[in-house]
C-alpha cells in the first residue's frame, strides 16, 4: 500500500527535544515571499508580545556586545595605567566600578534571554495551536474528492513533519536569526569604530565565508536529493516487505529478500555518507576560517600596535594592546553568529516549504453547499398539520426557507443520472430509478460496476454532472448538506471505529442517545452479547480503529451505530460482508426491524442478503442491465439468474 497511513510513533518526534538539530534539510518553498508574508499574519494576535520579544533579543545581543566592549577600557584605562603608575585607591574603585558595570550588563543580557525565550515559547505554541486547529477545521470541510486524490500519509505529514519544522523555526530559528543579525551588525559597528583597517580583513573573510556557504550548499543540495531518492527506495522496500512478511515466510523468500535489502541498504549508505559529509563539513570549515582570520588579524594588529608604540603609525591604523585584544575577541564573536545564521537559513527554508503545503491545504476549495432546505423535528399538530418542534420526535420534516414543512418520507428518485469521477470515464451512465418510502432497493453487480457510486451520490459525497436526484420531491442540491446526510444512515463496507468506549462509538450515530437507547440499538444489531463479553462491557475502550475486535464484530457495531441514528433512509454497503452467514441469519430479525418503515438501499455480494428486496438492480459498466424483484429476475434467466445459480450449480 503506497498511501499507507502510519500512526506516527513517538520516535518520529523524539529528535525534537532540547538542543537537537534535525538532519540536513534543503526543501525550498515555491513562493518564499508570499508564504512568509502569509505566515506573518499568524503573528498578529501576538504583536505586543512579539515587540517585547524583539526588544529583549536585541537587548540580549547588545548586552553581549557591550559587555565584551568593556574589555578594552578595563585593560587600557584601568589595568595598564595601574600597572604603570601603581594602584591608587581611586583607580581601584574605578576599576571595580567598570567590572560591576560589565557584570550588570551581562546579567541584564541573561535576563533578557530568559524573557524572550519564555515569551517566544508562548507565541510559538499559540501559533502552532492556531494552525493545527485551522487545518483540522478546514479538513473537515473538504470534499471526499480531496481525500481520494491525496494519500493519508500525505495529509498526515501536514500535521507532523510540516508543523514540526514550523515549530523548530518559530521556537529556535527565528529568535536565533534575529539575535545573530543584531550581534553581527553591532559587532561590526564596534569593529569599524575600533579599527577600520583591521575590519577590512574581516570583510574579506566574510565574502570568502559567504562564498564557501554557497558552494557547499549547492553541493550538499545535490547529494541530499540523491540521499532522498535512495532513502525512498529503501524505506519503500522495508515497508512493502514488512507488510508482506507472512507471504515472505510462506514462500521461504527470506534469503533473497535479505540479499536485495543489503543492496538497497548499501546504496543508501553511500548516498547518505555523501549528503552527511557536505552537511557537517560546513561547521569545521567556517569555524576554522574564522581562526585563520584570527591569526591574520593578530599579526597585522600586532604590527600596527608596534608601529603605534614606535610612533610612526598613521592615525587610521593606530592601535593599542587593549584594542587589539578586544578586536580579536570581536573576531570570534563575529564568526559565531554567521555560522549560526548559515545553518538556520536552511531550516527556515524547510519550514517555509512546510508552511506553504499547509496553506495549500487551508486554501483548498471546501465542499459546495448551497442547500437551504433544513431538516427539523416535527409533530402532527392538533389540527392534523405538521408543526416544527424542538424535541426529538419520530417524525421529521423538511423546512424550506419560506417556512413550509414537508414530511420526510424517504422518496428518492434518480432521473437520467450520469456521473464521472474524473470528468472523463463515465461511471454511471443515464441511470434512472426510484425508491418509494419504505422500499428496499438492492444493487448487484461486479466490482467497479458503480454500486457504491450510486449511494455516494445520494448523500452528495460527489455531485452528479447530469440528471437529477430528488428526495421527497426536492432536488438534493437544495437541501443543506448536513441535513441531507442526517436524514440518511450509512453502514459502510470498511467499518471504522473511533478511539473511545464501545458506548461512545455507538453513540456516534446520535450524540444524546441514552444508555438504554444504546443498548437497544446494540441488541437490535445482535452486538449486545459480544459487547457484554468484552472486559468492560459497553465501557471497553476501542483503540486503533477497533484492532481488538473482529471484522464481523466491528460491522455489528456499525449497524448499531446506524440503528441509533434512526433516520428515514438507510444505506447498507456490504454491511454484512464480514459477518458469517450463520450470524447473519441470527441478526436477520434485527436487520428487518432496522429496515422496517425505512427506505433502504442495499449493496451486497451475497445474494442471499438481497433476495427479499422490493427491487433489485443489476449493474454492469455503469448501466442498469436488469431490474425487478427476485422472482422476476430469476424468471428472466438473465445475468442475475446466472449470478444466483453460480452458487448453486454444483449442488
Amino acid at each position: 500500500m503506497s498511501g499507507n497511513p502510519k500512526a506516527p510513533k513517538a520516535s518520529e518526534t523524539v529528535a525534537r527535544g532540547p538542543g537537537m538539530r534535525g538532519g540536513p534539510k534543503f526543501a525550498k518553498p515555491k513562493n518564499t515571499k508570499g508564504t512568509f508574508l502569509r505566515l506573518l499574519k499568524y503573528f498578529k494576535p501576538y504583536l505586543l508580545t512579539l515587540i517585547i520579544v524583539t526588544i529583549c533579543i536585541i537587548a540580549a545581543a547588545e548586552a553581549n556586545v557591550y559587555g565584551t566592549a568593556q574589555l578594552k577600557p578595563i585593560i587600557d584605562d584601568h589595568l595598564t595605567p595601574m600597572v604603570k603608575n601603581g594602584a591608587t585607591a581611586e583607580a581601584w574603585s574605578r576599576f571595580v566600578t567598570a567590572i560591576i558595570k560589565m557584570g550588570a550588563v551581562y546579567a541584564l543580557g541573561a535576563v533578557c534571554i530568559y524573557i524572550h525565550s519564555r515569551l517566544m515559547l508562548k507565541v510559538s505554541t499559540g501559533i502552532l495551536y492556531d494552525i493545527r486547529t485551522e487545518m483540522f477545521a478546514k479538513m473537515q470541510k473538504l470534499p471526499i474528492k480531496y481525500f481520494d486524490s491525496h494519500t493519508h500519509g500525505e495529509i498526515m505529514s501536514r500535521y507532523t513533519n510540516d508543523t514540526d519544522s514550523m515549530r523548530e523555526m518559530l521556537g529556535q530559528s527565528v529568535p536565533n536569526l534575529i539575535n545573530s543579525f543584531f550581534r553581527v551588525t553591532s559587532v561590526f559597528v564596534m569593529m569599524v569604530d575600533l579599527s577600520p583597517a583591521l575590519t577590512v580583513i574581516t570583510i574579506i573573510m566574510l565574502v570568502l565565508m559567504i562564498f564557501v556557504v554557497k558552494t557547499l550548499g549547492k553541493r550538499s543540495g545535490a547529494f541530499y536529493k540523491k540521499r532522498q531518492a535512495a532513502l525512498g527506495v529503501a524505506n519503500g522496500y522495508i515497508e512493502e516487505m514488512t507488510e508482506g512478511q507472512k507471504v515472505v515466510k510462506v514462500f521461504c523468500r527470506e534469503e533473497k529478500i535479505n540479499t536485495r535489502f543489503a543492496e538497497l541498504n548499501d546504496n543508501l549508505r553511500k548516498a547518505e555518507a555523501g549528503a552527511n559529509t557536505w552537511a557537517s563539513i560546513l561547521m569545521p570549515i567556517m569555524g576554522n576560517l574564522s581562526y585563520i582570520q584570527y591569526a591574520i588579524t593578530a599579526v597585522i594588529g600586532a604590527l600596527m600596535v608596534v608601529a603605534a608604540i614606535k610612533g610612526n603609525a598613521h592615525a587610521l591604523i593606530a592601535l593599542s594592546v587593549g584594542e587589539l585584544i578586544t578586536f580579536l575577541q570581536y573576531t570570534r564573536n563575529f564568526a559565531q553568529p554567521i555560522t549560526m545564521m548559515s545553518q538556520q537559513f536552511n531550516s527556515i527554508l524547510a519550514a517555509l516549504a512546510g508552511a506553504e503545503r499547509i496553506f495549500a491545504l487551508i486554501d483548498e476549495q471546501p465542499e459546495e453547499d448551497e442547500g437551504m432546505i433544513r431538516l427539523v423535528n416535527a409533530r402532527i399538530g392538533e389540527n392534523g398539520e405538521l408543526e416544527e418542534c424542538s424535541e426529538r420526535t419520530d417524525c421529521w420534516a423538511w423546512k424550506t426557507p419560506e417556512g413550509e414543512l414537508t414530511r420526510v418520507r424517504g422518496h428518492v428518485i434518480f432521473k437520467d443520472v450520469t456521473f464521472s469521477y474524473d470528468g472523463e470515464k463515465i461511471v454511471l451512465d443515464d441511470i434512472s430509478l426510484y425508491a418509494k418510502p419504505g422500499q428496499k432497493i438492492a444493487f448487484v453487480g461486479s466490482t467497479g460496476a458503480g454500486k457504491t457510486t450510486i449511494t455516494n451520490l445520494i448523500n452528495r459525497f460527489y455531485d452528479i454532472q447530469d440528471g437529477e436526484i430528488t428526495y421527497d420531491g426536492f432536488n438534493i442540491r437544495e437541501i443543506a448538506k448536513d441535513d441531507l446526510r442526517r436524514s440518511l444512515a450509512m453502514v459502510l463496507q470498511d467499518t471504522h471505529l473511533f478511539t473511545g468506549t464501545v458506548r461512545e462509538n455507538i453513540r456516534f450515530g446520535r450524540k444524546y442517545a441514552t444508555d438504554e437507547e444504546v443498548e437497544k440499538a446494540a441488541k437490535l444489531a445482535n452486538a449486545h452479547s459480544f459487547i457484554m463479553h468484552l472486559p468492560e462491557g459497553y465501557d471497553t475502550m476501542i483503540v486503533d480503529d477497533g484492532e481488538n475486535l473482529s471484522q464481523g464484530q466491528r460491522q455489528l457495531l456499525a449497524i448499531a451505530r446506524a440503528a441509533i441514528a434512526d433516520p428515514p433512509v438507510l444505506i447498507l454497503d456490504e454491511a454484512t460482508s464480514s459477518i458469517d452467514t450463520r450470524t447473519e441469519a441470527h441478526i436477520e430479525r434485527g436487520m428487518d426491524e432496522l429496515m422496517r418503515g425505512r427506505t433502504v438501499f442495499v449493496i451486497a455480494h451475497r445474494l442471499s442478503t438481497v433476495r427479499n428486496s422490493n427491487a433489485i438492480m443489476v449493474l454492469e459498466h455503469g448501466k442498469i442491465i436488469e431490474r425487478g424483484d427476485h422472482k422476476e429476475l430469476i424468471a428472466q434467466r438473465g445475468r442475475y439468474y446466472k449470478l444466483y445459480t453460480g452458487a448453486f450449480e454444483l449442488s
Binding site: 527535544g17 486547529t133 510462506v250 514462500f251 593578530a298 444466483y644
Partner: protein
C-alpha cells in the same frame, strides 16, 4: 543496552576512531591558537622592545595551526559521515535479517507499522547519537581538560574560577535535562494522541461526513491540540532555562576572570596578554561542558529508540529448524493432527484450538467451515508450521512437521493467505515467487488453473504488467487469483486456500475448484470458505466451532448429522429452489 549496538560498528571501527582522532586534533589546535596569541602579545608587543620577528613567527604558527585545524575538521566530518552511515547500514541489516527470521508469532507481536518505524526513524535516531558520540564525547572531554591545563599553565590561581564554574554548569545542565525529560515524554504522548485523532478522521472521513460529525470531531481535536499545547509549554518551560543560565555562568566567569585577573595583573603576578588567552579558555571550556550535556540529552531522548531496536534484536525466535534433517523430503500430501492444542499466548488455559484429531489422505480435497473466530485459519497455519503447536503433533507426509527443514516443508505445503499481498514488480515477477525457475508454460498453466490467464492476457502488457506497490493495479478478485497461481507454481503436495476466492464471483470460484481437482490430482487441498457452495464438492468437510473440530465427514452426511453445517447451508441456500 548500548552493548547490543556494538556489532553494528563492524567494518567502520577505523573510520569511527579516525573521526574521533581528527576532531581531537582540531580541538587541541583550536586551544593552542589563543595560547600562541597570548605569547605573541606578551613576548612580541608587551615588552620593552617590540619584536617583529616573534610576532611574525607566532603569527605564522597560528595560521598554520588554523589551516591544519580546518583540514582535520573537514576530515572528521567526512570520516564521521562514513562511520555513522556505515553504522546505520549495519544496524538496519541486523534488524532486517532478524525480522526475516521472525516466525508468525513474532510478527504478530510487532505490528508492521512499528517494525517500519524501528527500521527507519529509530535507526536514524541512533545513527545521529552515534555520530554525535564519536564527534563530540572524546573531543569535548579532551578540550575541557587541555584548556584547563593550559589555563593552569597561564595562571593556576586564576584557573580556580573553573573549579567553580565547570561543576556548576554541568550540574545545572544535567538537572534541566533530567527534570524536563518526563515532561517531554508526556508531550510526545499528547502528540501521538492528537495525531491518532487526525489519522482516525482521515481513515473514517466518510463515516464522519455521513453522520455529520465534523463539528464534534473538531471540538475533540481542538481539545487534544490544546492538551498538546499545554504539555509542550510545560516541557519547554523547563528547557528554556538552559540558555540564560549557561550564558549567565559564562558571563559570571568572564567577570570573575576580569576582576581577579585584574588584581593579579596590578599585583604584577600576571601579564595583560594572559588575560585575553584566559578569556578564550572560558569560552572553550564552558562550550565543551555544554556539548557534553547535549550528548547526554540525545542519549536520554533516544532511549525510547534504543529500547525499541533492542527489543527486535532480543526477540526470541520461537520456531527454528536447527535440529531438522536437511535431507528429509516430504513423502506425500497426507496430513494428520494428533491431540493438537494451540494457543497464541502459549497459555494452556487459553486455547485457540483444543484436542484436534484428524487424518487426511494424500490427494483428498477438504473443505473447512465454521463461524468467525472458530479457528479455521489457525488450524491450517499449523500445517506449514507457521505457528508451533502447544501440545500434540502435526504430521505431513507421515513425519512431524518439526522434523523437516522449514524450507523443505513450506515448499511442499503452499498456502494462500487470507490477507494476500502482491509486491511491486510485474505479474511474472510476482508469480516467480512460487518458482524462480518456472518456464513460461508452467506459469501459464498455473494461471489457467487459477482462472487468471485470461484477465492477464487482457492487459496490454500481459504477464509483464506492472502491479505497483501492494498490487494496486488489479481488482480484489484478480489479486486473489494471482495469489493462487503463485502458490500453485510451487507444485506442492498440499495446497491451502484460506478464504482465497471470497472476492471472486461464484462462477470463477467454481471453475478454480474444478481446475484444482482435475489438474492437481494427487495434491491434498484444504479450502476454507464462507460460501457453502465452495465446500460442497469437497471429499470431506471439517466443521469447526470455537476451536474444536466438531464434525468431519462428507458434505452429504454432514447435512443430515450436523446442525451447524445445516444452518449455514440453509442460510445460503434458502429460496434457491424457488425457481
Amino acid at each position: 543496552m548500548l552493548r547490543k549496538f556494538f556489532p553494528a560498528v563492524r567494518g567502520y571501527g577505523r573510520q569511527s576512531l579516525g573521526a574521533s582522532f581528527m576532531i581531537i586534533l582540531e580541538g587541541v589546535l583550536e586551544i593552542m591558537i589563543p595560547f600562541y596569541m597570548t605569547k605573541l602579545i606578551n613576548e612580541g608587543i608587551d615588552v620593552a622592545v617590540p619584536n617583529i620577528n616573534i610576532i611574525i613567527k607566532y603569527g605564522a604558527l597560528m595560521l598554520l595551526m588554523a589551516v591544519f585545524a580546518l583540514i582535520t575538521g573537514a576530515l572528521c566530518a567526512r570520516l564521521a559521515a562514513v562511520a555513522g552511515t556505515g553504522f546505520a547500514m549495519n544496524l538496519r541489516n541486523m534488524l532486517f535479517t532478524k525480522v526475516q527470521d521472525f516466525s508468525f508469532a513474532n510478527v504478530d507481536k510487532f505490528s508492521s507499522a512499528s517494525i517500519v518505524t524501528r527500521l527507519t526513524t529509530d535507526v536514524t535516531n541512533i545513527q545521529n547519537l552515534y555520530t554525535m558520540l564519536i564527534r563530540m564525547t572524546v573531543r569535548n572531554f579532551i578540550i575541557m581538560i587541555t584548556a584547563f591545563v593550559f589555563a593552569v599553565a597561564v595562571n593556576a590561581r586564576l584557573a580556580l574560577v573553573f573549579a567553580v564554574t565547570i561543576p556548576l554548569l554541568a550540574i545545572v545542565m544535567f538537572s534541566i535535562v533530567l527534570i524536563a525529560h518526563p515532561f517531554f515524554e508526556r508531550m510526545l504522548k499528547k502528540l501521538d494522541l492528537m495525531n491518532a485523532r487526525v489519522q482516525e478522521n482521515l481513515i473514517a472521513i466518510r463515516v464522519v461526513k455521513a453522520f455529520v460529525k465534523g463539528e464534534d470531531e473538531k471540538v475533540s481535536f481542538n481539545e487534544s491540540a490544546l492538551a498538546l499545547k499545554k504539555a509542550q509549554l510545560a516541557a519547554e518551560r523547563i528547557v528554556i532555562w538552559n540558555n540564560p543560565i549557561s550564558q549567565f555562568i559564562f558571563y559570571a566567569a568572564m567577570v570573575a576572570v576580569c576582576f581577579f585577573g585584574g588584581q593579579l595583573i596590578v599585583g604584577g603576578k600576571m601579564k595583560v596578554g594572559d588575560l585575553s588567552g584566559f578569556l578564550a579558555y572560558i569560552g572553550q571550556i564552558l562550550a565543551s561542558v555544554m556539548m557534553l550535556s547535549m550528548v547526554f540529552v540525545s542519549f536520554i531522548i533516544t532511549r525510547a529508540s534504543q529500547k525499541r531496536i533492542a527489543e527486535v534484536l532480543d526477540e526470541k525466535i520461537d520456531i527454528n529448524d536447527d535440529e531438522a534433517d536437511p535431507d528429509l523430503k516430504v513423502a506425500d500430501g497426507s496430513v494428520e493432527f494428533e491431540n493438537v492444542n494451540f494457543s497464541y499466548s502459549k497459555n494452556p488455559d487459553n486455547l485457540t484450538l483444543s484436542g484436534v484429531n484428524f487424518s487426511v489422505r494424500s490427494g483428498e480435497t477438504i473443505g473447512i467451515i465454521g463461524g468467525t473466530g472458530s479457528a479455521k485459519t489457525t488450524l491450517v497455519q499449523l500445517i506449514p508450521r507457521l505457528y508451533e503447536v502447544l501440545e500434540g503433533s502435526v504430521r505431513v507426509g507421515g513425519r512431524d512437521v518439526r522434523e523437516y527443514k522449514l524450507h523443505t516443508l513450506r515448499d511442499q505445503v503452499a498456502m494462500v493467505l487470507q490477507t494476500n499481498l502482491l509486491f511491486s514488480g510485474t505479474i511474472e515477477e510476482n508469480l516467480r515467487w512460487g518458482n524462480e525457475n518456472a518456464t513460461q508454460e508452467q506459469i501459464e498453466a498455473a494461471c489457467r488453473a487459477a482462472c487468471a490467464h485470461d484477465f492477464i492476457m487482457s492487459f496490454p502488457n500481459g504477464y509483464q504488467t506492472d502491479l505497483g506497490q501492494g498490487g494496486v493495479n488489479v481488482s480484489g478478485g484478480q489479486k486473489q487469483r494471482l495469489c493462487i497461481a503463485r502458490a500453485l507454481l510451487k507444485n506442492p503436495k498440499v495446497v491451502i486456500l484460506d478464504d482465497s476466492t471470497s472476492a471472486c464471483d461464484t462462477a470463477t470460484d467454481a471453475s478454480i475448484r474444478k481446475a484444482l481437482r482435475t489438474e492437481l490430482k494427487g495434491t491434498t487441498t484444504f479450502i476454507i470458505a464462507q460460501r457453502i457452495a465452495s465446500v460442497m464438492d469437497a471429499d470431506r468437510v471439517m466443521v469447526l466451532d470455537d476451536g474444536r473440530l466438531v464434525a468431519f465427514d462428507t458434505p452429504e452426511r454432514l447435512l443430515e448429522t450436523n446442525d451447524i453445517y445445516r444452518e449455514v447451508y440453509e442460510s445460503q441456500m434458502k429460496g434457491g429452489d424457488e425457481e
